[in-house]
Symmetry: C2
Subunit: 1007 residues, 2 copies
């Protein structure tokens, strides 16, 4: 710190001390242990498990509509094994000595009212009338307000419209009386002489349910159109509107919308936007907007907050292996807050500033900087949250006058989500409020310059353990390739550029590739764009019996050397292949968008999964390739290792045209089995990418042979071939079973019994429990059923919904489905596109008929006619009234058809879920710990997802595959997969000669 | 130590110091670094790897008959990766700068002559004439001798007879001149006035190639008959014979033989026996013999040594999980030596004592004790080894006069084995000679009372690491159940007792056992004793189609609960079952001896293997049963675990009637798959033992169902049954392939695709390289081909022999095969018994015909006619002149027929070895490191054994199973076996709610 800063710092600390003195002895009510909330907070801070359970319980509470349901959840969340409900929860109830179940029943009213009371502490009112009453009172106490409507999770146009209407309604209510309100600390119509009395905050994503980063323009336009009526009304009333900042994924459209509003209504200055100091990008974001304001000569208003989604952003980034976008040390956010505050204050000529923080150090810093810079009072104000930090708001009121309270209002259901956020904030170890009022930390610590705090914290940390680093020469541990982050402009721009580029190549001929030679056949098959069947992707040579024989013979010859290539060396080829995919990401994605109609994110996920398979199997082979010593008897050295089985025929599907192909092919190859690869006809151009990939990797000739062909011509011949030792297949059950049966016959000259690995169909169900978080469940089912037109073996084709939530779910799902756009995958505004080809279209349409006959249509959503004329579209269809006996509940459709099935209770839901021939994926949306546990055990599928959609399996993390008629073999991308391509061998050496054996360290020797 | 001992101890130390003074400055020639031996010893002591290579090279040297072979081995043993041969080996050769290969060629003569020179240092002569010349010289120097003929490894009557003749020959040579020898230090015929001039040591096992602990009486008689001519000749010459003590397994017959000789020739006192102080039993052994001598009133003579097989005994015990029979701390042996010496000296009235040690402390102690006890000089003498410890022998000669040198003579081939023993002795860290003369340890340390040394050593050891102990409540790590130790009387007596006991039960009816109920059928099948077909073991109920349906339905019902029983709990049933087998070991063994004709050790190995499967799979399931977290993304908890596939049909063979059945059954059950078990008809009584076993374990009804039946009646029905999900089969290739083909068809109502695990046939080869240690190879092939009549899938049916060693091998094998006894397994003198039933007999006899037609008979060895009349005997048949194209080289016989195939070099041998449809087991006898390495890679079978027979796989250590037409599935008793009975499942929970996720320790979280 230089001298100047240091001087300022002393002033900041001095002012902070005065602040503390002025509020001495007071504490926010949330920390008051004399009351229930304070007790709960206290327990939560001391007991992490209780905290998790408590927050989760608060979250689910609004869904617990019956006293039975409430009691059951109280017991499940809190009773634990000893059936003892923590004393804190019993507070306010008559003492009782009964066991868990009964206690829960006795307590349920008390607990509900306590929690609702806690919520009311943070929420100014549930109805608009209440809210108006609340703000009226606040104003009497000398505080301004900014009103926020709870309920930002909207999944459909309908819900977004209702949300907007909620704003209009409260504005109507305010309109009736606001003129009667006295201005705060001033005469005239404006608070403090300069601020509109009416101040409203809006969360833009809630106004437009189809917001998504990949569709920046659509999102901006959708949000703006929905918010504009509210803004107009506010403007009519002379009020202020602040556009809140939500999760990072909405940052760019939010800023863009702010700019457009400002330009559209340049003369109305009362429009604010929020920035979050916890974002590493905050300096650039704010200075960018300031520059824009200056260049446009449009005054702006910025509220600076620390940010409320830290956990979410961090978890999301870690889950996706994206760079963490937020500061990972709390003082860094505090530093950014001070830094950016100064930046804004320095631009006070063009920017109004709202300092929103409960941190007395931050507040003091803003005051001192404003003072130092001579910022006029009307250029900045302070904001704190309603119901939190009462001493701070009081102190601020005394010192700074201009204090505005952020007041949420609305129903308790969305209110609980808000409550959880506030509780989290107050119980986090880094929370200033917690440190100040609960931990009673030393004031000088609390007021310390965050730069010093950071230094101290870093110094106190244990040095990075070098043991955690990847040793020289070893591969770093496996990590999934990150999904596309469409908040990044380059990622959004990559797709159209690549599509334009590869379109130039369309129509070219794809030869076979056998033993390193291109082979052209007379017979060819055209691959076309399903969104426009007149667009030919390429013309693919088709292998006949002779070409299959040649390919198998070539692979057999290659096997003789390849099986003995060191596992580590084989793995290197996969790693090189992975690099090729990374280097050609956009082109590979673009081809899939056009050849099979994958949405951008789905295409990227497919290529990423291909990379994952290569990286994972490479590491798996290195792991399995190290011979294992068996036993530790001295005088004997026994080693267990693996040998590739022989030639592998890989018969691949079109729906994950790169990922599944690369997965099966690379597993075989790295295990020592050369491959004859038959891609699906529909996706042979994508399949040819594997030729290019292995060429780039320098794989020896003959180890990979590209051999597309018509199943009817060469399928059986390949399966029956005596020199094929492994068949890896992914596709339909019918073909899978046929392969299995044929492969079991040993033909003359055959060396090995054939190993068949078959991933087959699914008829996957998602259970919606009566306490499911519908905000997530509706979107989860929608995505699982209709993402990539439902053409995934993991797709959800049955939603099994509990009776008590049935109507709510169906309604929301219907509206959500109605809100999505249908059209070519090329355009990222479209949620769903055409099915993969004409045959698929015909098949799906037949199943639509069956579905409509067997059930009643909830929604049938068609693509616009101009698309339907050109491409292979099928409608999005949801039917209900389906039972286990219906064909549509039993047969795999492989298209966008969803059946809704009603279950009277969770056990019946499980029974329905398990009632098909398949056992591939499934999901449960529930907030009942017992039901989740039960489902983990009894929802018998290969991949079960809890509170997640049934699709999107990631290599390793969600090793993929099922049983029953869904599969033969072990999970792809899992730890047992490669074993299937190899035979174990054991070599045991007697090391004793003439009674003398060398003794090694790991021998079981005498002490 | 009490005061008395302490006084004595001071005297011992004083005398020791005088001894050291008297030899001051002298060192044994082996440690003289001016010479090649000393250099090699020095290198060996400093470099453990070099030592191992050097000793192994010394061992193989006599087989390296061509200069090509010698050069190649020098390079393989010593050149290493940098082609640098250690300088020490170049000693004596002209300096040369060439690379590895050439250097080896240049050096080969030098190295051979150096090593042979080293051997001659320890061996008094290769021919009897040389030997006589040598002892004549020794006597001139004042030393007596005891002569020992090298070559104790005899594998046949012929070789044993030759060995005996070697003694007679040298005695003849001595006879010609010994009368001319002056007595040492005395006049008259006796050395020192009391000792015969002629003194000969014999190793009894070498005189009788069929010695084995299980056959105590046969062994004693066989040894005695062979040694008696030698003993008579010695008596005729008035000489002394000492019976040497070899490995522990011969101790009991050796002592017994000594007693019988003494009783047979009570008046001839010059017969000695040796005891080894390193045996923990030495006090009891010696006092036992002393008591016997006193009670029989027969004077005896004992030589006490420390013992020369310490490494061997320890390795053997550790490999077999027997108690280690030797002291594991060197001072303990020294203590025992002093203790037992005193015991013998105290009995000097009835026992003459030869103190055989190079340890000056031990020698001094004997001198002082003898002095203290006033033992007459003629009652004790001192012995040391020829060529070792020259200073000690000189010192002894000065002090004690009566010094005898132990003088081996004979060919260099067996001589090398002796050389290795001596080198080992001299380079061991604990060696007194090494400490004295190479390490130049402090004299007071060397003379320290070993009790104190022990205390000091124990105190210096790190305390037992508690981390190595099995934590409370956890299973100790898996260990194979020990093989029968027939040196223990109880083990020998257990078998006849149990056979008598179970014979009383013969003829009883065995019901089916389904769902906990015994079910009797009209159709029954008798099981008979193959050694006496009139003896009916039992009458076994036979399941038809209806019983199979009932058993499958029962198992299917049991599955619903069993699959969800915790893996740890399922494992407990296996552990209880294992206890039942341990508790009933002898009865279970005895039943196998009688029902299928297993030799005692083979029967015990089968039951032990059954125990191993139970113990191993229990632990494996506990290991696999713990769900594995996949990935470490925060906000998500993903677990990978396994579920049993469903009902398992186990179709078992008769040849390992308990082990393989229990292995397949217990794997299925512990994995969560209830079992319908069909034992082989021939061994259904043994199979019924599994019913009793699981009853004792308390396994829930329906989880195990005993369902014997005729394959022709119910086999296909069981295989085809739609409710069977797993078929575990062990048996012939024909049946295995049929099962595989049928099982691949999915029938209506079938839930799961069937998993087939099939262990099928083998046509196993053993390669005999031109440098193979034939002492081991001959016995190994004999055992692998004819143990249990060759009725093992792992049995050796092809010996692939390199041309240059072909004749030697065939001759020794032929003689060895001719020496074994054929007859009922009940009698442990018989090496080979009847094949398992009449059908097997018919089949084997047909193959005998084919073998005799295709090749020429090396030996055809028939059981005595009296046995053949009653049982299902087939001859032991060895044919040679067999090539790859012969049927007998390709088809599995499953009986005692061995083909010999000639290979011109090792590559051709590998080619022949790999030339069958099968790939089960194989073995190589070779001492070429390169060939062993090559075979490890290119001898492509499931279980390859190096310098071990191809049979006798142990659970885990030799996880068992092959590929090609030998098997479908992963190795039994291996780490991947249980996976085959289970489907992996994955449950992934999204743990984030409202942006908040509990973070666990193993999450990938921010630093």
């Amino acid at each position: 710190m230089n001298a100047e800063v240091s001087t300022l710092d002393n002033k900041v600390i001095e002012r902070g001390k005065q602040f503390f003195d002025s509020i001495s002895g007071e504490a926010p009510s949330v920390f008051n242990k004399g009351w229930w909330t304070g007790k709960v907070m206290d327990w939560s801070m001391k007991n992490e498990d209780f905290k998790v359970q408590m927050f989760r319980f608060v979250d689910v509470l609004p869904y617990l509509n019956t006293s039975e349901s409430l009691s059951r959840h109280i017991e499940e969340y809190f009773a634990g094994e000893d059936s003892n409900i923590p004393d804190v929860l019993k507070w306010g109830a008559t003492k009782t000595g009964f066991g868990g179940g009964l206690v829960a029943k006795v307590l349920n009213k008390t607990i509900r009212s306590n929690i609702e009371g806690m919520a009311r502490q943070f929420i100014i009112g549930q109805k608009s009338k209440e809210a108006v009453k609340g703000i009226r009172k606040l104003r009497k106490d000398g505080f301004a307000f900014v009103l926020d409507l709870l309920g930002e999770a909207t999944v459909s146009h309908e819900e977004a419209a209702a949300y907007r209407d909620g704003y209009l309604e409260v504005l109507d209510a305010i309109e009736k009386e606001y003129k009667k309100w006295d201005a705060l600390d001033a005469s005239g119509d404006l608070d403090w002489g300069h601020a509109p009395k009416i101040n409203v905050a809006v969360k833009p994503s809630a106004f437009y349910s189809q917001s998504k980063p990949v569709d920046l323009e659509g999102t901006v336009q959708g949000m703006m159109d929905a918010i504009e009526p509210v803004y107009k009304k506010i403007m009519d009333m002379g009020g202020f509107m602040c556009i809140d900042m939500e999760a990072l994924k909405y940052k760019e459209p939010t800023v863009e919308m702010y700019k457009r509003f400002r330009k559209k209504y340049p003369d109305y200055p009362h429009l604010g936007i929020v920035f979050q100091a916890y974002l590493r990008s905050v300096d650039d974001d704010v200075s960018g907007l300031l520059d824009w304001a200056r260049s446009e000569n449009l005054p702006i208003s910025i509220r600076l907050v620390k940010g409320a989604y830290w956990d979410y952003e961090t978890v999301l980034a870690k889950q996706n292996d994206w760079p963490v976008p937020v500061w990972t040390h709390k003082p860094e956010s505090d530093m950014a807050f001070e830094r950016v505050s100064r930046m804004i204050l320095e631009n006070n000529d063009i920017c109004h500033f709202a300092c929103a923080s409960h941190n007395i150090r931050s507040i003091s810093s803003v005051m001192e900087v404003a003072n130092e810079l001579g910022v006029p009072e009307e250029k900045y104000e302070f904001q704190v949250l309603y119901g939190m930090a009462e001493p701070v708001r009081k102190g601020l009121r005394n010192v700074a006058k201009r204090v505005r309270l952020y007041c949420p209002y609305g129903d308790l259901i969305p209110g609980m989500a808000y409550l959880v956020r506030r509780l989290l904030e107050n119980t986090a170890n880094e929370s200033f409020l917690k440190q100040t009022f609960a931990d009673e930390a030393d004031v000088s610590r609390l007021l310390e310059n965050p730069e010093l705090t950071l230094e101290r914290e870093l110094a106190a940390k244990p040095k990075n353990n070098p043991g955690n680093k990847t040793p020289e020469g070893e591969l770093p541990p496996f990590n999934n390739f990150p999904p596309a982050d469409f908040t990044v402009k380059e990622e959004r721009d990559g797709f159209p550029a690549s599509m334009a580029k590869i379109r130039k190549d369309f129509g070219k001929r794809y030869p076979l590739y056998i033993g390193g030679q291109e082979i052209v056949t007379d017979d060819t098959l055209d691959s076309y764009n399903p969104a426009d069947t007149s667009e030919i992707i390429g013309s693919v040579c088709q292998a006949g019996v002779a070409e299959v024989d040649k390919a198998v013979a070539t692979a057999k010859q290659a096997y003789l050397d390849w099986r003995d290539v060191e596992p580590k060396e084989r793995a290197q080829y996969l790693l090189k292949a992975s690099q090729y995919l990374k280097d050609n990401m956009y082109d590979l994605c673009a081809l899939q968008v056009l050849e099979v109609g994958k949405q951008w994110d789905q295409a990227q996920a497919d290529v990423a999964e291909a990379i994952d398979f290569l990286e994972y199997y490479a590491r798996e082979m290195i792991r399995l390739g190290a011979p294992r010593r068996m036993g530790n008897a001295p005088g004997e050295y026994s080693q267990y290792f693996y040998q590739g089985k022989g030639v592998a025929a890989v018969i691949a599907p079109w729906n994950f045209p790169l990922a599944i192909s690369v997965g099966m092919v690379s597993a075989a190859i790295v295990s020592g089995c050369p491959v004859v690869y038959k891609p699906a006809g529909i996706s042979s151009a994508v399949g040819y990418g594997i030729v290019e990939m292995f060429k780039a990797a320098g794989l020896p000739d003959g180890v990979f042979n590209y051999c597309p062909g018509r199943g009817s011509v060469m399928g059986d011949h390949l399966v029956d071939h005596p020199d094929v030792s492994v068949i890896a297949f992914t596709g339909s059950m019918e073909v899978g079973l046929r392969i299995q049966e044929r492969a079991a016959k040993v033909h003359p000259g055959q060396e090995q019994c054939k190993k068949v690995i078959a991933e087959m169909g699914g008829k996957n169900g998602i259970i919606i429990d009566d306490d499911a978080d519908l905000d997530e469940a509706v979107l989860g089912v929608l995505y699982a059923a209709f993402g990539f037109q439902g053409q995934k073996c993991s797709a959800c084709s049955r939603a099994i919904v509990l009776g008590s939530i049935y109507d709510r779910f169906i309604h929301r799902l219907k509206e959500a489905a109605a809100s999505i756009k249908l059209g070519p995958a090329e355009d990222p505004t479209n949620y769903m596109g055409p099915v993969v080809d004409k045959a698929a279209q015909k098949n799906v349409l037949e199943y639509c008929k069956i579905a409509e006959q067997e059930g009643s249509v909830v929604i049938k959503h068609e693509a616009p006619a101009e698309y339907r004329d050109k491409g292979c579209y099928a409608p999005l269809l949801v039917v209900d009234g389906i039972t286990k006996d219906h064909r549509i509940a039993q047969e795999e459709v492989f298209g966008p058809v969803l059946s809704i099935m009603r279950a009277k209770d969770f056990d019946e839901a499980l029974d329905i879920a398990n009632s098909t021939r398949f056992a591939l994926t499934g999901a449960v949306y529930s907030r009942s710990p017992k039901h989740l546990e039960k489902a983990s055990r009894e929802f018998r599928v290969g991949n079960l997802y809890l509170n997640k959609p049934s699709v999107g399996a990631l290599v390793e993390r969600h090793a993929f595959g099922g049983f029953k008629m869904s599969g033969v073999g072990s999970k792809a991308g899992g730890p047992d997969y490669l074993l299937q391509f190899m035979d174990p061998r054991l070599v045991c050496e007697n090391t004793m000669r003439r009674g003398f054996a060398p003794i090694s360290e790991d021998d079981d020797w005498v002490a």
